[in-house]
């Protein structure tokens, strides 16, 4: 700690010394150049009068000395006043330099037009440089801890600065910063312009640093006035608003895109649900046609035949009728299976745990059902869990093999009903494997009642399919 303070003190001393030396140097350079100028003017004057004219007489000698002195004073005064005279001349030639507040108004006007951000920032840099008579103006933009030079006049190309976690908030809090402050908190900004006179106004919004406005003048140029600094602060505030708007805009676009994707997914899901319902109707029609209907058809033919045979060969008719009982039983069995496939009666009657246990007993593979702590739920919730679990079981046996034991667990958690089917099979990479029809129809089914599906699997690590359904209270 003491060492750090000591170092800071040393740094401060060094900086004071540098500043003093720079001031002395400037005074010395000014004095020497003024004296030189005066000497040159006097020498030229003397050379012209004496060299090209004649020696001055007694009275003229005093006059000559006085006029030499006058010329030298005029030269020195001009040198001192040159900047002001220049500015006056420039004002005469190029017109009056607008006050910094003018820059604000001009920039505000541009912000109301829908210019692209980089164009707006470039215009800001140009405007700033012209209005504040800068040697360079730059706008840096960034997020968090990295700033990029987005616009500069004259064009200096891209550059970037990395800020530490402590530097960014310090910069965000400063309204306008001068060289001394910047050398501590943003020394990287001086790269290639060590002697420049810089002013930096942070562009912020809600305390976050969004960027910087950098105004640069050469050391020998005009000093930054308070009015200039105020203009920088105000411009930074406006750019902050503009950037905030741009970010809100891009966030809005991202949200819209996400919404669009959701709508598209919803539309596709609805189409799949309708297609699945149609396919289910087709399956029921086929099942009816191929099973019960065929048995009943044969029954009708045989009953008619028996009736026809009754008179001529009653024994044959009796034999035929006796054989028909089996056909009737087959037709009944087929109808029962079909009805069960449409909706298992045990599910409506006794709930998920019993219905799934019974279904697992009938299934071709081995399954362990753990559903002890659950109760009864809305019919759509129970049906969804039931059919999704059967689908998951079939999937597991298909991929992990019929010998695999699949564990099904159903439980309530945080206002939701959850189920999972896990197997110790070969697993797969869910990121690289497109979802099959089974998983897609499970996701659609769950999505239709506000639920969701997740797959946890990796090659060699088995598969766990989990579904979650919010329970309405």
């Amino acid at each position: 700690m003491a060492t750090a303070e000591g170092q800071q003190e040393t740094m401060r001393k060094m900086r004071r010394q540098v500043k003093l030396r720079r001031l002395l140097d400037r005074v010395l350079v000014g004095a020497i150049s003024f004296l030189g100028l005066a000497a040159i003017v006097a020498a030229v004057y003397f050379a012209i009068v004496v060299g090209l004219g004649r020696r001055p007489t007694d009275g003229e000698g005093t006059l000559l000395l006085l006029s030499m002195l006058g010329a030298a004073v005029a030269a020195v005064v001009y040198a001192a006043a040159r900047d002001r005279v220049d500015r006056f001349a420039r004002r005469l030639v190029y017109g009056v330099r607008p006050p910094p507040s003018e820059a604000l108004r001009a920039f505000s006007g541009r912000m109301t037009r829908s210019l692209p951000l980089d164009e707006l920032l470039l215009q800001l840099a140009e405007l700033l440089r012209r209005t504040l008579a800068l040697d360079a103006a730059e706008v840096w933009i960034g997020t968090g801890e990295r700033l990029e030079r987005a616009a500069s006049d004259p064009d200096r190309g891209p550059a970037s600065l990395n800020l530490s976690a402590t530097e960014a908030p310090v910069l965000a809090r400063s309204s306008v910063a001068g060289p001394a402050w910047l050398r501590v908190w943003l020394p990287g900004l001086f790269a290639g312009r060590e002697e420049a006179e810089l002013r930096v106004a942070p562009i912020t919004h809600s305390g976050d640093l969004l960027g910087l406005i950098v105004a640069e003048r050469r050391a020998a140029s005009e000093q930054f006035s308070e009015e200039d600094e105020q203009a920088l602060v105000e411009l930074a505030r406006q750019v902050g608003l503009a950037l905030r708007n741009v970010r809100l805009d891009s966030e809005l676009r991202a949200s819209l895109e996400a919404l669009r994707q959701q709508a598209e997914e919803l539309r596709a899901s609805r189409a799949r649900v309708v297609a699945a319902a149609d396919a289910e109707r087709r399956r029921i029609e086929r099942d009816l046609h191929d099973s019960a209907q065929q048995h009943l058809m044969a029954l009708a033919i045989n009953v008619r035949l028996a009736a026809e045979l009754l008179e001529e060969s009653p024994d044959e008719a009796r034999g035929l009728l006796e054989g028909l009982e089996a056909t009737v039983q087959e037709a009944l069995e087929a109808l029962r299976d079909l009805a069960h496939g449409i909706f298992p009666p045990l599910l409506a009657d006794r709930g998920l745990a019993e219905a799934l246990t019974a279904a697992a007993r009938r299934a071709p593979g081995r399954a362990r059902i753990q559903a002890d702590g659950i109760g009864r739920y809305a019919p759509d919730v129970e049906a969804t869990v039931y059919f999704c679990t059967l689908e998951a079981l079939q999937n597991a046996w298909k991929h992990a093999g019929p010998a695999a034991t699949v564990t099904v667990r159903i439980w309530e958690q945080e206002g939701g009903l959850l189920f999972e089917a896990s197997d110790g099979g070969g697993g797969f990479d869910p990121e690289r494997t497109p979802r099959g029809a089974g998983l897609t129809s499970m996701a659609d089914r769950l999505g239709a009642i506000g639920g969701s599906l997740s797959i946890d699997s990796a090659p060699g690590r088995g598969t766990r399919v989990t579904g979650a359904i919010p329970l309405r209270r």
Partner: protein, 132 residues
């Protein structure tokens, strides 16, 4: 099967109907079953080798289907009488059912000895004046 009996080939992918048709044909004098096929493809093959007088052809079968099989058989053996059968209503039949060379359509539930005899009596003298 009597030597001058009408030889019948039964084509249906559903065993219950084939079995019922067998019983009916056994009990109907003058008709005898020569073969059974469970698909249109099999029916075309058997028709070529068994040369039946009458083919009882189910319409809805996977693969080639009854209509296409009837078309093949009618083209190869124009003398064969083909009767289409199905468990659908006649309006649910495909549009080309009446143009495939078959002589009649029968709902499966109506199938029996009497209707078989009636159909055979009414069979077209020339295959070319059938439904085509």
């Amino acid at each position: 099967m009597e030597p001058d009996a009408v030889s019948v080939l039964v084509v249906d992918d559903q065993a219950p109907f084939r079995s019922a048709a067998r019983a009916v044909l056994r009990a109907t004098p003058g008709f005898g079953i020569v073969g059974e096929a469970a698909s249109g493809e099999e029916a075309v093959e058997l028709a070529a080798t068994l040369e039946p007088d009458l083919v009882l052809m189910d319409v809805m079968m996977a693969g080639m289907g009854g209509i296409e099989a009837a078309r093949h058989i009618a083209a190869e053996r124009p003398g064969t009488v083909i009767v289409l059968l199905s468990s659908y209503r006649e309006d649910d039949l495909p549009a080309n059912a009446r143009a495939c060379g078959a002589a009649a359509y029968l709902h499966k539930a109506e199938f029996g000895a009497r209707v078989l005899e009636e159909l055979w009596r009414r069979r077209p003298d020339q295959p070319s004046v059938s439904a085509r």
